[in-house]
């Protein structure tokens, strides 16, 4: 890639909805199994391990990761890499409770990286709420989509 040549535009995907159609429930059994992989005991008050902020939003959003990549004109087999995550909790996550996921793609920005060549930075926001609309958490993930064929 000639560094002086302008990069082709990234696909225009900002604003595309990631809202899920099916509520997500954190199973108490699965929470127990997840805690076992970390070597910790599950909470006795019915709260779920907080890492379910990531799992619940990722599974409950309206697309799989492969479909999200495809929306960005990217093949999941080309190796998307998560680079950062932030989350703000309004309340703890509980097992056996229905959660609804809403969200959208915030942006897809094309960059030239010394290490990866041409790549797109995909940023999307997901929110988890109770069925009555009460906010539970908001999370933002950033992924790198390496565009090796453009490098």
């Amino acid at each position: 890639m000639d560094p002086l040549k302008p990069l082709p535009d990234a696909p225009s995907v900002a604003g595309i909805s990631l809202s899920g159609k099916t509520p997500y429930v954190i199973s108490a059994d699965e929470n127990r199994a997840l805690c076992a992989t970390i070597g910790v005991a599950p909470a006795e008050d019915g709260s779920a391990h907080p890492i379910y902020f990531y799992i619940a939003t990722q599974i409950g959003m309206g697309m799989t990761v492969a479909e999200l990549c495809k929306t960005c004109d990217f093949d999941v087999e080309d190796g998307p890499m998560i680079t950062s995550t932030k989350v703000g909790f309004s309340q703890p996550l509980m097992t056996e409770v229905l959660y609804q996921v809403t969200g959208e793609i915030l942006g897809l920005i094309r960059k030239l990286s010394r290490k990866l060549g041409v790549m797109d930075m995909l940023e999307y926001e997901l929110r988890l709420s109770l069925p009555d609309g009460t906010a539970v958490l908001k999370t933002t993930n950033v992924w790198v989509l390496p565009r090796r064929h453009l490098s």
Binding site: E30, A33, L34, T37, I38, G39, V40, H49, P50, I51, Y54, I55, Q58, I59, T64, V65, G79, M81, I82, T83, S84, T85, K86, V87, G88, F89, P92
Partner: protein
């Protein structure tokens, strides 16, 4: 407990990141990515010879470290960067350091630097977390 700025948080050590655990996480995440399941897939991508732990599983170690360091606390925010991979069989250690204290005795808040380190290599997750602690009586 009475945390002070600069305190190092009690570490959570995972002596052997288990490929069996990665299989379980593939189910939790509904993500059958072979990089987490098959060393041959990792080698084919030129990423090494061992399966790669899922990023959220690495983050879960950091969260469990915080829960252990501050029993009864509520995690308010977490902001992390995934700076490297963790491979099957590695030892990792999650820890952190107290950066700020605020909020008074009724709802004391704490901001911490957090990290996960692969013992033989260095940081794999870096970031910050804020928590509300149980009231000090």
């Amino acid at each position: 407990m009475n945390p002070m700025i600069g305190d190092t948080l009690k570490a959570l050590r995972i002596a052997d990141v288990s490929p069996q655990g990665m299989k379980a996480w593939a189910g939790f995440l509904r993500d059958p990515n072979p990089l987490h399941l098959d060393p041959r897939a990792v080698a084919a991508k030129g990423l090494g010879e061992r399966v790669i732990n899922q990023g959220p599983a690495n983050l879960a170690y950091v969260i469990s470290m915080l829960q252990s360091a501050f029993p009864g606390a509520r995690i308010d925010t977490l902001e992390v960067r995934y700076v490297d991979n963790v491979f099957g069989g590695e030892a990792v250690e999650a820890s952190g350091r107290v950066l700020e204290l605020s909020g008074g005795d009724d709802a004391p808040q704490i901001k911490c630097e957090v990290w996960l380190r692969a013992e033989a290599r260095g940081p794999v997750i870096t970031g910050t977390a804020t928590l509300t602690l149980a009231a000090i009586r």
